[in-house]
């Protein structure tokens, strides 16, 4: 038996929605804005009028704005009493909004940029490994070593944003420490394509999926690890669907892989005297099903006191960084992050950990702007602190 979600079409699901409002109470957007029009049920309800009942005059800029005000965190899907896959619904709906020419400029910029550069920035894709210059010594096997046992898919944020560069540095050093035979795709790594889904351009992701999967298969690597939660979700959940095949690669989040290395005794953490909490990234936790591995890593470090936030695990609140919300309504994204960092601070922890670069960027900015005395870092960074000689 299954408790999973179901999905037919945008119009059918809009009619199936019972407007019960179970989707409301954990929705970070609704909690911030407070109006019925910002609830998932409100948006679905109007979608029903427009697309199932043909009232196209209701397709207004106000409605389009509400559709883009969503982090696609999946809290609504988790609670949906009709078992609608509401994230799939949002993806299709954003496609309709884009087709109607009502998507934010930011969406078009994302799509155009990804098509041109194969990453989410304006940097040339061949500079993907520039972060490695932060290391004392760049590993020889880092760039497209054929036949490596493990391929590390770095992700755009870690590859190009200086703050997040500390994550791949930590990951690579941990892999070296555990004597793992690994490599990366170097300049041949393309964005996983996840931002396309939220930008109403889902059909474009197939090209990215095909390129990335074929490149990894050509390199002969059977295990792919990634430190980006969205990349993880895309590789593990989206690629098999859009390509219509078993991709033949074992996809793991880096926390799962590191937890295995700890179990095997290949990494031995030293004592750290810290009180930490952990923010579950939506795409890793609620949407990816990985809750234990990051906690296992944290709890493996002697001396660390671990405290959970008020909402955690399946019920974890979003950081505001998902669903391309920053490109549609950055102030709203920041407000959501502000609430989440406050929740982290209430635990009494001095460090808030996550396992997603985007979450860390959001939370770090929120900690600064709200003047919380909290250090934000990735689980891999904490583990490297503990393992480093």
């Amino acid at each position: 038996m299954s408790s999973g979600s179901f999905y037919k079409t945008l119009t059918e699901e809009s009619l199936i929605c019972g407007r019960c409002g179970s989707c409301r109470y954990e929705c970070p957007i609704y909690k911030e804005l407070g109006w019925e029009s910002s609830t998932p049920r409100g948006k679905i309800s109007l979608t029903r009028e427009i697309f199932a009942k043909g009232q196209k005059q209701l397709l207004t800029p106000e409605y389009a704005k509400r559709v883009t005000q969503c982090t696609m965190c999946g809290a609504c899907t988790k609670n949906c009493a009709s078992r609608i896959d509401i994230q799939a619904f949002w993806q299709d709906l954003r496609g309709e909004i884009a087709a109607a020419g009502m998507a934010p400029q930011g969406y078009k910029a994302i799509v155009d940029n990804l098509k041109a550069k194969k990453n989410i920035t304006n940097f040339d894709n061949v500079t993907r490994l520039d972060w490695a210059e932060d290391m004392d010594e760049v590993p020889e096997n880092l760039d497209q070593e054929p036949g490596a046992e493990v391929l590390y898919f770095v992700g755009c944020v870690s590859s190009f944003f200086p703050r997040a560069a500390q994550i791949p540095v930590a990951v690579v050093q941990l892999l070296q420490k555990a004597e793992v035979n690994f490599t990366t795709m170097g300049g041949d790594e393309w964005c996983c394509g996840f931002p396309l889904l939220a930008a109403g351009a889902a059909s474009e992701i197939k090209e990215f999926a095909r390129h990335n999967v074929d490149t990894v298969l050509e390199m002969g690597t059977k295990i792919l690890i990634t430190s980006c939660s969205s990349c993880y979700h895309t590789w593990s959940h989206v690629y098999p669907t859009v390509l219509g095949e078993d991709i033949g690669i074992k996809v793991m989040h880096v926390t799962e892989y590191l937890a295995e290395l700890l179990n095997e005794g290949k990494l031995v953490p030293n004592e750290l005297d810290e009180t930490v909490t952990y923010h579950d990234p939506c795409d890793l936790g609620r949407n990816g099903g990985i809750f234990d591995a990051p906690r296992q890593i944290i709890k493996s470090i002697p001396g660390v006191t671990f405290v959970e936030m008020a909402t955690n695990g399946m019920d974890s609140t979003c950081c505001g960084g998902g669903g391309n919300l920053q490109s549609a309504d950055p102030a709203l994204a920041d407000a959501i992050a502000g609430k989440r960092i406050k929740e982290a601070a209430e635990t009494g922890a001095t460090i808030v950990l996550s396992a997603c670069q985007q979450c860390e960027q959001m939370l770090e900015k929120a900690a600064r702007s709200t003047k919380q005395r909290l250090q934000v870092m990735d689980v891999t960074e904490l583990l490297w602190m503990a393992v480093e000689d």
């Binding site: 407007r19 019925e36 207004t60 609670n79």
Partner: protein, 483 residues
């Protein structure tokens, strides 16, 4: 509504008040997708203004200001009912109470919590669980329904069989009455808190409540009984409900309901052919063990078969009842308060009605007192097929009529169930409700148009004739894809 009132409310609440048409449209309905042409002859559901108060003082000021101009005030939080209970019938001010949310204080010694009326039950339960406490009962719509909203309805649901109706868990309710005065209503005040129960927001607007709670249960256990027929199911339910140690939840489903759940992967093939009773217990380890033994004894006594391997999953799906919409896309049905000793006879009649009409009827229910259950009998429909859908609405009356033969009456009145008022209340009871209304809200500004009297188009006689005519039309035209 005058410009002066609009100005006063927007000055006072700032961005938490709006007259924006785009926004107001979202508050014109609850769960029931009743077509405009039916609604507009009976009600004016579009609010003039929506306000989102955060404090009792703001709520009081809104009510006072509206009262001066005799403008209706309709309270709404979860908006998770289907009878227009929280939709404006006569325009005016729509008070969205969701900002009155959150736990204010917890008294662990007294096992009580003070909570904002707009807090959802799931939010409250989560907050209490963090403190080692739990609510005594909650609605099957807990993720959507608010604390105040459930009291304003009848307040029966999961946990009621063991702990009673919600009103008995309420020590106090901070309430704004129709004159804008603020009161702390208790069992002993001149206006007792019990008056607010099932009043559907027509007497006052609750803003905070003090509720009895309990320590988090040490353990839980879930059983599922497969009964050979409705008679056996009724026997199981009656004995379980009368037992000295009652289960926290006692829920039943007929084969129609189970078959649909099976088609969506939420129940086994075996369940799909069965009448089932879910028997959910929690408490101390001893209580749970005792209850599990009691369940086994009930199986033996009633000839039911243990299917508990599916019980935990069914419990986990307890908030997913709208899954039943997936074969609609719409769902029509009758929710009734019914004596459990008539359940088998009711289901037999429903089965006969189904044999004649082929609606795909399905029934489930929660046993909420030792004698009564909330019973839901439904069928799928398609709101895009206007004729078929309206005929379907008429068929709902037929289900209510079948229920009435067995002592059933609508659960919740709002606007749409006003034709059935005489089934829900005796004339003495109704006179008492009207007396309270006249006493507390002589101007009739608190959620007017609900509960006390049917509007002309829903007058029981006219309504009965109209529905019968509509049902009769099915013999020669059933609309596209018949409802």
């Amino acid at each position: 509504m005058s410009a002066k009132l609009w100005q006063q409310l927007t000055d006072s609440l700032g961005e938490r008040a709006t007259t924006d048409l785009f926004e107001r449209r979202f508050y014109e309905r609850d769960l029931g997708p009743v077509p405009d042409f039916l609604v507009n002859n009976i009600a004016k559901p579009m609010p003039d203004i929506i306000v989102r108060p955060k404090t009792v003082e703001e709520m009081a000021e809104i009510v006072r200001a509206a009262g001066i101009e005799h403008v209706p005030v309709t309270p709404r939080a979860g908006g998770s009912t289907v009878y227009f209970n929280s939709v404006c019938a006569r325009q005016g001010v729509l008070a969205d109470l969701n900002a009155l949310e959150g736990v204010r204080s917890i008294d662990k010694d007294a096992n009580t919590v003070r909570v904002g009326a707009g807090t959802t039950w799931s939010s409250l339960e989560r907050a209490l669980n963090r403190e080692g406490l739990a609510v005594l009962s909650y609605p099957s719509s807990a993720p959507a329904a608010s604390v105040g909203g459930w009291l304003a309805m009848k307040g029966y649901g999961i946990g009621s069989l063991r702990y009673g109706q919600m009103v008995y868990h309420v020590d106090a309710a901070q309430t704004v009455l129709a004159d804008g005065s603020i009161h702390e209503l208790t069992k002993t005040t001149d206006v007792p808190v019990s008056w607010m129960a099932a009043a559907e927001g027509t007497l006052g607007i609750m803003t905070e409540l003090t509720l009895k709670v309990r320590p988090c249960p040490e353990a839980e256990w879930h059983g599922l009984a497969e009964c050979k027929d409705a008679v056996s199911m009724q026997a199981f339910i009656e004995q379980a409900a009368e037992a000295s140690d009652k289960p926290f939840n006692l829920h039943f489903s007929d084969p129609g309901c189970n078959a649909l759940r099976h088609r969506h992967g939420l129940a086994s093939e075996r369940a799909a052919k069965s009448f089932t009773v879910a028997y959910d217990v929690d408490g101390t380890k001893l209580q749970v063990d005792t209850a599990a033994n009691q369940f086994n004894q009930l199986l033996v006594m009633t000839g039911a078969v243990d299917m508990s391997e599916e019980a935990k999953e069914e419990w986990q799906h307890r908030f997913f009842s709208l899954l039943l919409k997936r074969e609609g896309p719409s769902l029509l049905g009758a929710e009734m308060w019914m004596p459990i000793n008539k359940l088998a006879a009711y289901l037999k009649d429903i089965n006969n009605y189904e044999a004649k009409n082929k609606l795909g009827l399905k029934t489930y229910g929660h046993v909420v007192t030792p004698k009564y259950a909330m019973v839901m009998t439904m069928f799928n429909a398609d709101e895009r097929n206007t004729v078929g859908y309206v005929q379907g609405l008429a068929l709902v009356k037929k289900i209510h009529d079948i229920g009435a033969r067995y002592g059933g009456s609508p659960y919740g009145i709002g606007l749409w169930n006003t034709p059935y008022l005489s089934r829900c209340y005796t004339s003495t009871q109704l006179a008492e409700l009207k007396r309270r209304k006249k006493m507390l809200d002589p101007q009739n500004i608190m959620n007017p148009g609900k509960l006390y009297q049917a509007p002309l188009f829903l007058n029981p006689v006219l309504f009965g004739i109209g529905m019968d005519v509509l049902v009769a039309t099915r013999s020669f035209y059933q609309g596209r894809n018949n409802a």
